[in-house]
Assembly symmetry: C2
Homo-oligomer: 209 residues x 2
């Protein structure tokens, strides 16, 4: 295990957040969805869905451990020292026609398969708990090279994750997403109409019950 000089274990999440932060800073104005990060596409679609009473879904704020806050006179409070914390859950949740939705979004530059290392044990555990409560759980996975996005059920992700832990494949093939996921075609209103794929998943769940 990698440790800091103070003996504390290295937290990969800090590095991860670093990359996300740098990426966000580099993000420029884009035309249409080309080059847009999956997160922005989802946030934009969620806003559309909320404004049209289709669904109420939000991305959760990044969890931060606040250590020191300054309260300058006549100005607003400034957080002067804080650290990124490991999230306990997935990034997105909300409600659609009475159903609880819970999902994570990930993108890859790989062309043929999606590395499972993009996910974390805590997300898998959270999915399992939500599934026991009959939540609708899935991941939205984007192959950046092809600009293709799939909704993939959490149940199948868990199967792949557990197979990997027993020495199985370290990634999920694109063909698997094509066969057992639900592709989401980019549109205009909203840009990423993932609720259509949720509907397909709900139909599938009804049939298999």
């Amino acid at each position: 295990m990698i440790k800091y000089p103070n003996g504390q274990a290295f937290e990969p999440v800090a590095q991860l957040k670093h990359e996300q932060f740098v990426k966000a800073k580099q993000q420029k104005v884009v035309f249409g969805h080309r080059g847009m990060a999956l997160e922005d596409e989802i946030n934009s679609s969620n806003e559309y869905y909320r404004n049209h009473d289709t669904a109420v879904v939000y991305k959760k704020p990044t969890p931060v451990q606040i250590v020191h806050v300054d309260y300058p006179k006549r100005a607003k409070a400034v957080i002067k020292e804080a650290y990124f914390r490991q999230p306990s859950t997935t990034d997105y949740n909300g409600v659609y026609q009475g159903r609880y939705l819970d999902f994570e979004a990930k993108e890859t530059k790989n062309k043929r398969s999606f590395p499972l290392k993009n996910f974390h044990q805590h997300q898998i555990d959270h999915f399992k708990r939500c599934l026991k409560q009959q939540g609708i759980c899935f991941v939205l996975v984007k192959f950046v090279a092809w600009e293709r996005v799939f909704l993939y059920p959490a149940t199948k992700l868990i199967t792949a994750w557990e197979a990997q832990q027993q020495g199985g494949a370290k990634s999920i093939q694109l063909t698997e997403f094509e066969h057992h996921g639900y592709e989401i075609k980019y549109a205009i209103h909203p840009i990423l109409p993932y609720i259509q794929a949720v509907e397909q998943l709900l139909d599938y769940l009804k049939e298999s019950n």
Copy 2:
């Protein structure tokens, strides 16, 4: 409207977060639930519910606008400048037996009534959107002086809120909570068994349909 010297509007949320932060800092080890903040009681109960597969509910992280992050060599990333942001939603959501739960928690030192100024327009708007999606929406309200906690349906809160905007009462009477809310009695496992009150609310909703 109060404005900062730079012309930016004063955000009450910063002050609010200040108070919460100071309160958290002052919080000491307590025995039993006496003097425990409602938020801690709910977080502890949520942990119990998760561990017992009763429900999966989390408090959302405080939203923070990150402006500057330092990445010291061999140490984890430090957020050096950030600001509290106004939340768009309520503080808690999750899933219970297939139902989407969404709620806010507030306490008052008042003895006879609960001031509506404890709530914000964005919370009311969020409740309305979630109710349209058939979410189960409510507030948990604690009268600190009596150590009494009530679950109060969001539909009734919205009615009181809108009456107030038309010149009606600025607070909700304790007797109203007694008559139309569901009291939650403190226990041990979990300390605040609010899911029992959710069950009562679900029964009521079934009957009134």
